[in-house]
């Protein structure tokens, strides 16, 4: 084990390069979460559409994504799609992460939507609101609120999953840590340093999710 002063020394020395890597990790995560939410919402709505073929499409998507490792999905997008048209590394990684997260998010949202009391939908309809309007104005805001704790969980998972982008040579946190570690024959120090950065990001993310939750649940208090 490295001594604390050695760890601290390296931590300060490498803060520039790690900070840059942290920004890339953050970018990958945020972009993939945002796209993932859109994908997740679309497939959640397909799943509850009561139209067999659309439900099936949603089922197949969720099955394929949950049934294969993320690293396989990243490689397929990176090597497979790049053969058809040029997909920049960042977008190959982001899209793979987004498609992956989208499946989990769709299940989270579907559950949350279905947990909203049926009476809410009937109340909207009885006031002359269309299905879409009721969904948008009445059901989804309540569903999002309920989905927030599991979504926060999923966001943290996707932050850590972004480390797999290292395997398609994205210079995000994990890649920088392993590269510097092996160059300096000092893997352990750099792994501990990168752990600190991940913990920082997770703390930040937890804070944002908690604040959002507080804001959205103001009506319960």
């Amino acid at each position: 084990m490295p001594s604390f002063s050695h760890f601290f020394h390296i931590l300060m020395d490498t803060k520039g390069v790690f900070f840059k890597a942290m920004l890339l990790t953050l970018e990958l995560t945020v972009v993939s979460i945002l796209i993932g939410i859109v994908i997740g919402l679309v497939f959640a709505l397909l799943k509850i559409s009561n139209i067999k073929i659309l439900e099936l499409i949603s089922d197949i998507y969720v099955y394929l994504v949950r049934g294969t490792p993320l690293i396989v999905q990243i490689f397929i997008l990176y090597f497979g799609i790049s053969g058809i048209f040029l997909l920049p590394d960042f977008w190959a990684a982001s899209l793979a992460l987004a498609l992956h997260n989208g499946a989990y998010i769709s299940e989270i949202l579907r559950g949350a939507i279905q947990s909203v009391d049926k009476g809410q939908f009937e109340a909207g309809r009885s006031l002359g609101m269309t299905k879409t309007l009721t969904l948008r104005r009445i059901i989804l805001p309540q569903a999002f609120r309920r989905a927030l704790p599991p979504l926060g969980n999923q966001f943290i998972i996707s932050l850590k999953d972004s480390s797999l982008a290292a395997f398609i040579s994205m210079n995000e946190l994990f890649n920088v840590a392993t590269t510097l570690g092996s160059n300096n024959f000092d893997e352990m120090t750099y792994l501990l340093i990168v752990a600190v950065y991940y913990l920082l990001l997770v703390a930040l993310m937890t804070f944002v999710v908690n604040r959002t939750e507080q804001k959205l649940t103001v009506s319960d208090r």
Binding site: G128, M129, R137, V218
Partner: protein, 247 residues
């Protein structure tokens, strides 16, 4: 005498799977009538009410609202629902919106009413149901009786011609029933056409123009409160009344 027919139902049938819940129902509700649907649980009275708002689809028969036969497949049900307000047993207020937001939501989003105007109207309605000081609180802060009065105001904000009440006091603590019934009575006195599913015999006797007694998916007897409570014709009705009064 040419009172307007607000609702006319002819030979309405409805089944849930093998369960035949509404059997050849015929009913007419005239303008400004207050009709109380009574009967034991499972008699089909709530289903009948929900058919009037097309929250349940009829199997066959005709539903004529204000002179127009409604075909749920082809007609714009949202347009019809604008004219037919509904109050639910469980209030179904929107928990993520304040009392005021609950009331102005549909007028603004459905009818395209100007927000300022919708707010003025909402405040008038809140005053009418005695809750003008609650406009900015969330439903979770209200008692059951207050929630139901907000729900009534919310339905009235769409300026419906007909109001349907589905056991509006059944989920309330006994001491809160009165305030809701008073609001409904005021509404009846203003001439609103109302169909009320209820177990409140006192309210039915006092406010209703017509009592309709349902049992096992059929209308057994109908009459004025006087006829119905004092001189019931059917044996089944007498049994029901005896059982109810003994409580």
């Amino acid at each position: 005498m040419d009172t307007k027919e607000m609702i006319k139902i002819k030979q309405l049938n409805k089944s849930f799977g093998d369960l035949h819940v509404l059997k050849n129902i015929d009913m007419t509700v005239y303008e400004s009538d207050v009709v109380c649907l009574i009967g034991s649980s499972g008699s089909g009275k709530s289903t009948l009410l929900r058919c009037l708002n097309f929250l349940e689809r009829k199997d066959n028969g005709n539903i004529i609202i204000e002179g127009n036969e409604v075909n749920p497949r082809t007609d714009d049900l949202n347009k019809i629902r604008e004219k037919v307000g509904m109050v639910f047993q469980n209030f179904n207020l929107f928990p993520h919106k304040t009392v005021l937001e609950n009331i102005i939501e549909a007028p603004i989003m459905v009818k395209g009413v100007d927000k300022e105007k919708a707010i003025i109207k909402a405040k008038q309605l809140l005053k009418k149901v005695g809750l003008e000081d609650k406009s900015d609180v969330y439903p979770s802060k209200l008692s059951g009786g207050q929630k139901q009065r907000v729900a009534i105001a919310r339905a009235l904000a769409m300026e419906p011609d007909i109001m349907l009440f589905d056991e509006p006091t059944s989920a309330l603590d006994p001491e809160l029933v009165g305030e809701v019934l008073t609001t409904m009575k005021d509404l009846a006195e203003e001439g609103m056409t109302m169909v009320v599913v209820t177990h409140e015999m006192g309210f039915a006797r006092e406010v209703a123009d017509w009592i309709v007694y349902m049992h096992d998916g059929k209308i057994i007897e109908r009459g004025t409160p006087e006829q119905f409570f004092n001189h019931p014709k059917e044996e089944r009705t007498r049994e029901f009344l005896t059982a109810t009064m003994l409580k």
